[in-house]
């Protein structure tokens, strides 16, 4: 049995390492393949302590296995009484001092990194986005730019983006595993963190603090584009005319329904910072419907018809009179054609 246990541990360790080296999980979601500054700093402080832990674990297991192999009760020596050792000062000193040193090895870089990631002294020189967490969606207001989006956050590569975050209801937590660690979004104060992405792409973001039934469905995306594309996107977004009437007849009808059914009361189109419901200015460009569904019209119709079945406990359910499938279809048509920019999650390489 003893041998088995020792081996099983070795095996576990080995698989652990193998998995680790191969990298695992979805590449735009996992924290193990950092694509941004915060995630890199965290990764260093994951790997280095892990190495120390593996070392310590090997030492512990060595003593353990040898003790179990050598000092099992032997046949024929049932009455053997081992020497009753009280202790050993030298050994005890060793295993007090070495862990202290190891812990210091971890502690020092941790403290430096903590201060590094909390540094917001340069916030004013960089892009600032006000992030509002809501049950169960995210609102992004680009400070001073008159740009408002929901669910999809666009940022350029290689630049720090400061997020000033507050919640409108309960506590949420803003997390994009491959770009940066998480930060809580509290109702009573503004928390600031910065993110900086190295590679273009669309990264998965998640809410990490239990916030109600649909907590697990409060996903969002970070669309990382090149600085040029970002500038392009900014100017596209700034030139949106919220009043513009779509060409397609169904979509026109949809727009009227959108207003008649008081959808507009909650959902702004344009740069209004109001955040009762998600801003829909660039809905047609969105990577998802409701943060989790494929961006198809069918999904949108389903959502409009019965949001409760998709996100239990959401605040849209019951906020408007019931709607026929046909009406929902028109509204969906209208929303899907809101595509103000060429720069989309698709172009960023979804």
């Amino acid at each position: 049995m003893k041998g088995w246990m020792g081996k099983s541990k070795a095996l576990l360790l080995f698989t652990m390492l193998a998995l680790f080296l191969a990298g695992c999980g979805k590449e735009n979601l996992t924290a193990l393949e950092p694509k941004g500054y915060g995630a890199e700093v965290s990764m260093d402080l994951i790997v280095f302590p892990l190495m120390i832990m593996i070392g310590v674990f090997i030492v512990v297991m060595l003593i353990y296995v040898i003790a179990l192999v050598r000092f099992r009760k032997k046949k024929g020596q049932e009455d053997f009484i081992p020497k009753q050792v009280e202790g050993n000062h030298k050994l005890e000193t060793i295993w007090t001092v070495i862990p202290i040193i190891l812990v210091l090895f971890i502690a020092v870089p941790t403290v430096f990194a903590t201060f590094d990631l909390a540094d917001d002294s340069q916030a004013s020189e960089h892009i600032n986005v006000e992030v509002t967490g809501n049950q169960y969606w995210w609102h992004f207001n680009y400070a001073g730019e008159e740009i408002v989006t929901s669910q999809d956050l666009y940022i350029p590569t290689g630049e720090r983006v400061y997020l000033n975050m507050q919640s409108s209801d309960v506590i949420h937590s803003f997390w994009i595993p491959s770009i940066a660690g998480k930060m809580d979004v509290n109702p009573e104060n503004v928390n600031t963190m910065y993110i900086e992405a190295n590679e273009e792409g669309v990264y998965w973001g998640k809410c990490a603090e239990l916030c109600g039934p649909s907590h697990s469905l409060m996903d969002f995306k970070v669309v990382v584009v090149s600085p040029e594309e970002y500038d392009q996107w900014v100017s596209d977004m700034q030139s949106v005319d919220p009043e513009s009437v779509p060409e397609d007849a169904v979509a026109q009808e949809g727009q009227e329904l959108f207003e008649a059914n008081s959808c507009v009361a909650c959902h702004a189109i344009g740069s209004s910072p109001a955040a009762t419901g998600p801003n829909l200015t660039n809905f047609g460009d969105r990577s998802t419907v409701a943060g989790i569904l494929e961006p198809t019209k069918e999904n949108l119709v389903d959502w409009i018809m019965d949001p409760e079945s998709i996100k239990p406990g959401n605040k849209m359910t019951g906020a408007y009179p019931s709607i026929s499938e046909e009406e929902a279809n028109s509204i969906a048509e209208y929303l899907m054609q809101l595509k103000p920019s060429e720069i989309t999650p698709e172009s960023a390489g979804n």
């Binding site: 979601l29 009484i81 109600g212």
Partner: protein, 616 residues
């Protein structure tokens, strides 16, 4: 003998005996039964959680129900399973280990049990009307918004049981300070008694924070105060602080007795004195001390700022040092011993690597910047199940096999013991090891569903399979218990060739424990007598009559009063007539308190003649 007479009594008489008992051994058994029941319930909830997560976007249970499930699982396991089972063991074993006939406050002891039990029942009543759903940590303001009465049940249930736990803690402290047998100095106390002592100190200082937190929560929810109401200037972070000022010490309340249990079992089965006894005692105190200075490591992402995060990060990591001292002392106790491996020892040996892994992920979590990634993911879930299941649950199961003969006079079946161990052990690592990776791969905790195509499917499936293995193990253990009760081998006083005082008296012990208090001549008193003396303790006093407390039904009635009042509090926010229920409940509780203080109770005496008659 007295056991025989117990068996011959009718069911009603036995029941009445347990309902009114103030005997620390029976109270201990009540704790084990109550805690065991809640463990099964919590385990069932865990199983439901795992079934829901067996595949992506599963709809085995609804989103709301899932949140209720995790909340109840966490709350039940921590407050109503692990803690009370450990308190039951302390109740039963500690007085025997220090050579006492009783605890200092027998009445309070039984009151403590009933309060715990009624708290658990109250909490679980919420299943009928909607259980709490804001996680076991119950963060405001989510908990304030939660509709229905689920959270109210959580608040009142924990308040009741918290009061009970605090009482037990005080009781243990006074018992250890004043009731040690002659010659049992502090530095001769077995480690399980030491950890009981330190755990009680932790209880004493940690539970008041929870009490206050729950009070504020109760007032915010039921009476419209504004502690956590941001609109009126409240601050939700206060709840988080209060909860974790309690919550972190609470995890050491769980693990320290577990350490104590292992420190008893290892020397017994290695036939060797505990290596570095003094260092072990010292490390226990150090862990307790540091345990109060790290709570904000649960709040690294709250935005407390880099100074607070750094301080708490470093303090957290420091706990690795005293814990390491313990691990190495156990290893060195094994080293050079003559090791017997049976079920109790299997659980113990499995603990060392399992807990070490859990502790090491703990230190990794303590690195605040890394925690920005780990926090609220399955990595944390993996960490704490490694320390709790691999530490506390293993310890409880080890203790069951070790002390079962003492408590029930029969030895648990070895074959079934081993089967249960192996299935549970394998299942445990299957379930939780993979969760480290799930967390880092981007799976937050408390997720009702995980979406398809996120690379999380296989890991979750493996994890669920592991949970079924654990279930199998638990069921085998239950069968073992039943089998042993019916057919188990009878246990002698000292079946393991052990070292401490509890093994000097019959299994199970007479209700006064020691006919004559033993004279303790050193650490491991029984071992000393076995190697240097005649194998029996020398009495420290002549045979004389023994003073024992009287049983009483009042603790149960008092608890019933509080229970009723709690229900009243929960529903008075719907309709004020429920206040009547509060008054009735309080009247019952206060009335029985009054009776208790007005009616003198001097206890009873067991005469010398009776004692002599019981001499076989």
């Amino acid at each position: 003998m007295s056991i025989a007479t117990t068996q011959k009594r009718g069911f009603g008489a036995v029941l009445w005996d347990y309902l009114t008992t103030v005997d620390h051994k029976k109270v201990g058994i009540l704790y084990l039964i109550g805690g065991g029941f809640f463990f099964l319930l919590g385990g069932l909830e865990a199983l439901i959680i795992r079934i829901q997560l067996i595949k992506p976007e599963n709809d085995f249970i609804s989103a709301g129900l899932y949140n209720e499930m995790i909340t109840m699982h966490g709350t039940t396991m921590i407050f109503f399973a692990a803690t009370p089972i450990l308190f039951g063991l302390m109740n039963y074993i500690m007085p025997l280990q220090i050579g006492a006939r009783d605890v200092a406050f027998p009445f309070l002891n039984s009151l403590g049990f009933w309060l715990f039990f009624s708290g658990g029942i109250l909490l679980n009543l919420s299943w009928f009307t909607g259980a709490p759903d804001a996680g076991w940590t119950n963060y405001a303001p989510l908990s304030l918004q939660s509709p229905g009465h689920g959270i109210d049940y959580y608040v009142m249930g924990l308040q009741l049981s918290g009061a009970g736990t605090l009482m037990s803690g005080i009781n243990f402290l006074v018992t250890i300070v004043t009731m040690r047998a002659p010659g049992m100095t502090y530095m001769r106390m077995p480690l399980f008694s030491w950890t009981t002592f330190v755990t009680s100190i932790l209880t004493l200082f940690a539970f008041p924070a929870l009490t206050v937190g729950l009070f504020l929560m109760m007032f915010d929810r039921m009476f419209g105060t504004a502690f956590f109401d941001v609109a009126l200037g409240g601050n939700t972070v206060i709840w988080q602080h209060l909860f974790w000022i309690f919550g972190h010490p609470e995890v050491y309340i769980l693990i320290l007795p577990a350490f104590g249990i292992f420190s008893e079992i290892i020397p017994t089965f290695a036939r060797k004195r505990l290596f570095g006894y003094t260092a072990m005692v010292f490390a226990t105190f150090l862990i307790a001390f540091l345990g109060f200075m790290v709570w904000a490591h649960h709040m690294f992402t709250v935005g407390l700022g880099p100074v607070a995060n750094s301080i708490f990060a470093v303090a957290t990591m420091a706990i690795a040092v005293p814990t390491g001292i313990k691990i190495f002392n156990w290893l060195l106790t094994l080293w050079g011993g003559s090791i017997t491996i049976n079920s109790a020892m299997l659980w113990t040996l499995a603990f060392i690597p399992s807990f070490t892994i859990g502790g090491m992920t703990g230190v990794m979590l303590g690195s605040s910047v890394a925690d920005y990634q780990y926090h609220d993911t399955y990595f944390v879930v993996a960490h704490f199940h490694y320390v709790i299941v691999g530490g506390v649950v293993f310890a409880i199961l080890a203790a069951m096999h070790y002390w079962w003969p003492k408590m029930f006079g029969r030895i648990l079946h070895e074959g079934m013991g081993k089967l249960a161990f192996w299935t549970f052990f394998i299942g445990f690592h299957l379930t939780f090891f993979i969760q480290h990776f799930l967390g880092l791969m981007g799976m937050p905790r408390r997720y009702w569903v995980f979406l398809e195509n996120q690379g999380l499917d296989t890991g979750n499936l493996i994890s669920t399979i592991g949970a079924f293995f654990m279930t199998f193990g638990v069921i085998v253990f239950l069968i073992n218990v039943v089998y042993t009760a019916v057919k188990g081998e009878k246990a002698p006083a000292d079946p393991w060739d052990a070292r401490t005082l509890e093994w000097t008296i019959s299994s199970p012990p007479a209700h006064y424990n020691f006919k004559q208090l033993p004279l303790v001549r050193g650490l491991d008193p029984l071992w000393i007598e076995k190697t240097e003396g005649n194998g029996k303790m020398t009495p420290a006093e002549p045979l004389d009559e023994i003073h024992m407390p009287n049983g009483s039904i009042l603790p149960l009635i008092m608890t019933f009063g509080f229970f009723v009042a709690s229900l009243g509090f929960i529903y008075q926010s719907d309709h004020k007539t429920w206040l009547l229920v509060v008054y009735v409940g309080m009247a019952i509780a206060l009335g029985s308190m009054l009776i208790r203080s007005l009616k003198d109770d001097h206890g009873h005496h067991i005469t010398k003649e009776e004692l002599e008659r019981e001499d076989d």
